[in-house]
């Protein structure tokens, strides 16, 4: 069902090779020779303390930053070969993003926030079909009570907001969900439920998950765990 999955190539969904990035003004590169593969539909846990370059890596994968050297191939496309605007379109088509907090437009309803996830990509709108219904299904699957669907996002609790954010990341079946500490604002019970729901819906959508967190107790639930410190020489320097 997912184009990346059905492709008869042995290529991984995401393939990062010898990636280097230095913030302007910094002496040391924050990403230094990073290598990482993510297969289609795979759930990858990337462990690392804050300041280890997690967010920079996600911005590079998201195409918001261009690497100094090295390559990021996504479903066979070399991100480095794309223009800034083409990378934006690529992100809209293939990635869903969840952050620790501030995921939602505060003045839009939960449903409108979810629909925003496929607003900027024709491909994802096409996958979602009836976007309103797809949003309802996802919100329902993520366990958000129906009476919350049309509430303003800033009237929802933090836990509810993260579920809406996950629904938005998943609408239109993106190839990869980038999750940057999505559970750090949740207590343990909510955290586990959230991860369960996220996994279930990502599986249904056929989306791979790249889950970045310092909370290693989550790691056993993933298909693969990578220590950012091991794959990125820069963070050790």
């Amino acid at each position: 069902m997912n184009p990346a999955q059905s492709a008869a190539t042995s290529q991984p969904l995401l393939s990062i090779r010898a990636l280097r990035y230095t913030w302007s003004g910094d002496a040391m590169p924050v990403i230094n020779g990073l290598e990482l593969d993510v297969e289609a539909g795979q759930r990858v846990f990337l462990a690392g303390a804050s300041g280890s370059g997690k967010s920079t890596l996600l911005a590079l994968i998201g195409g918001l930053l261009a690497p100094d050297s090295g390559s990021i191939h996504f479903a066979g496309t070399d991100l480095g070969a794309l223009s800034g605007s083409a990378r934006d379109r690529f992100r809209a088509d293939h990635l869903g993003v969840i952050f620790q907090q501030f995921n939602l437009m505060p003045w839009l309803s939960a449903v409108a926030n979810v629909r925003l996830g496929c607003q900027f990509s024709r491909q994802r709108r096409h996958h979602a079909g009836d976007a309103e219904r797809a949003a309802h299904e996802l919100l329902s699957a993520m366990g958000l009570a129906e009476d919350r669907w049309n509430r303003r996002a800033d009237e929802l609790s933090v836990g509810q907001q993260q579920r809406v954010a996950a629904a938005r990341a998943l609408i239109g079946q993106p190839d990869l969900v980038l999750a940057d500490e999505p559970t750090s604002a949740l207590d343990v019970d909510h955290r586990d439920t959230f991860v369960d729901l996220l996994f279930e819906q990502a599986r249904r959508a056929g989306s791979a998950i790249l889950f970045v967190s310092h909370d290693r107790s989550l790691a056993p639930r993933f298909d693969m765990t990578r220590e950012l410190g091991e794959i990125n020489a820069g963070s050790m320097a």
């Binding site: 800034g84 379109r89 992100r91 501030f102 995921n103 437009m105 839009l108 409108a112 629909r115 925003l116």
Partner: protein, 422 residues
């Protein structure tokens, strides 16, 4: 949700601040529209009253003054025209008709005009419309008076009522022609000209009530009784009138006759003016004030748009996180910058719409006052093509001004990426 939808939702979220910005722009637009509309409407309103008259002849004075007192009842005549000169000009072959008028009396603040049947037969306003007697008939008896529509409404007069005229043109007159009361013979249909606020009596009546007033005040014993006056109607032809309107058989002769009256008339010094040209002259004088008003209105619009710019700029910080969210959803920087342009487009458009509503309301509110004060009827007019263009230009300017915050958002969005660290 599409970009315009997002822009609308964002505006709705900040609705009180947006409402204030819209109100500022609306007021400035209303001022601009009102100045333009009133300018045009006033000119048209004034022109309405004189459109059927070729020449106005009176004692020498400034052309505008002659026009204002003879037609609009503004100001007072300085001197009169002798009856013999009037008859001499009235009987020229080129002259089709004349309407003599004698001013000087008032009733309840409205002007009383001594004239003849020619007023009913020949006076034309607003594209050749003749006067119409709505109730009753034109004056016939010496002590008949025909009243304008507005006089009838304001004083609640009907045909058959008896009224007393006051000497002098003011609102309050201490001296009246109490001894010679008049009967309302007819009420004219409304015209939207100063006719509505005038009372018409015959020239003979005007003469009769002024016998004994030669010194400027009533001399008891010298005044006529109505019976005496009726007995000597034939002798009541006035020796002087205030002015007269002239209609020519062919309009082409107007300049020749005007030249003759102004330059070559040797019986007495007279002034003949073309009402249209006198009005033009009036507009030239008021033109400077209009220009200043226009410039002021334009500056106020600019201030309104600057207010919008300020309002948009102050939201940029609180929007930073929202912009990052949109970026994370795949929005390109230009789409995010477009959001600001769309918001500005909405605000300006709403300002223009509410401004038009406000201007229309003000016009409706001002119309009765203008009619009362100047006898000028202003009607609601749809803005002209030219005004629509100006409004469109203002709308475009609002969007162009928003390029400033849009450019800032564009640059910031590129730098911030998907996440804003606070």
């Amino acid at each position: 949700m599409t970009l315009p939808g997002l822009a609308r939702a964002s505006l709705a979220n900040r609705r009180s601040a947006v409402a204030l910005t819209v109100a500022t722009i609306a007021i400035s637009i209303a001022l601009l529209v009102l100045v333009e509309q009133m300018r045009g409407q006033l000119r048209e309103g004034f022109y309405r009253s004189v459109s059927g008259t070729d020449l106005i002849v009176g004692a020498p004075t400034a052309p505008i003054q002659l026009l204002l007192y003879s037609v609009f009842g503004l100001g007072n005549p300085t001197s009169n025209v002798t009856w013999t000169s009037y008859r001499d000009i009235a009987t020229r072959p080129a002259v089709g008709w004349t309407i003599p008028i004698s001013l000087g009396d008032a009733h309840a603040g409205f002007r009383v005009i001594g004239t003849t049947d020619a007023m009913l037969d020949h006076y034309r306003y607003a594209g050749r419309q003749a006067l119409e007697v709505a109730h009753g008939a034109w004056f016939d008896d010496l002590y008949d008076v025909v009243i304008g529509a507005r006089v009838a409404r304001a004083q609640d007069y009907a045909v058959g009522d008896r009224i007393v005229l006051a000497h002098g043109g003011g609102n309050i007159s201490l001296q009246g022609h109490d001894d010679q009361p008049f009967t309302v013979r007819g009420v004219l249909a409304p015209t939207g000209t100063p006719v509505d606020q005038s009372l018409y009596i015959s020239l003979e009546a005007h003469t009769a009530i002024h016998i004994g007033w030669e010194s400027g005040r009533a001399q008891l014993g010298a005044l006529l009784t109505p019976e005496q006056a009726r007995a000597r109607v034939a002798a009541l032809t006035p020796s002087e009138i205030t002015a007269f309107f002239v209609g020519l058989k062919t309009r082409a002769a107007v300049f020749a006759l005007q030249y003759e009256i102004n330059q070559q008339y040797d019986r007495e010094a007279l002034l003949a003016v073309l009402p249209g040209i006198a009005l033009q002259e009036l507009w030239r004088i008021t033109g400077l004030a209009e220009q200043i008003l226009r410039v002021v209105a334009g500056l106020v619009v600019l201030a309104g748009l600057m207010g919008m710019l300020t309002a948009l700029l102050t939201t940029l910080n609180e929007r930073r996180r929202e912009m990052a969210i949109l970026r994370a959803c795949g929005a390109r920087p230009w789409q995010i910058a477009t959001l600001l342009l769309l918001e500005a487009a909405w605000i300006t458009a709403l300002g223009i719409v509410f401004g038009l509503v406000l201007a229309t309301t003000a016009q409706v509110a001002l119309a009765p006052w203008l009619l009362e004060r100047f006898g000028v009827a202003v009607s609601l007019a749809w803005p002209s093509m030219w005004q629509w263009l100006v409004l469109a230009a203002i709308w475009a300017m609002g969007v162009v001004i928003a390029l400033v915050p849009a450019a800032m958002v564009y640059r910031r969005t590129l730098a911030d990426g998907m996440q804003v660290r606070q």
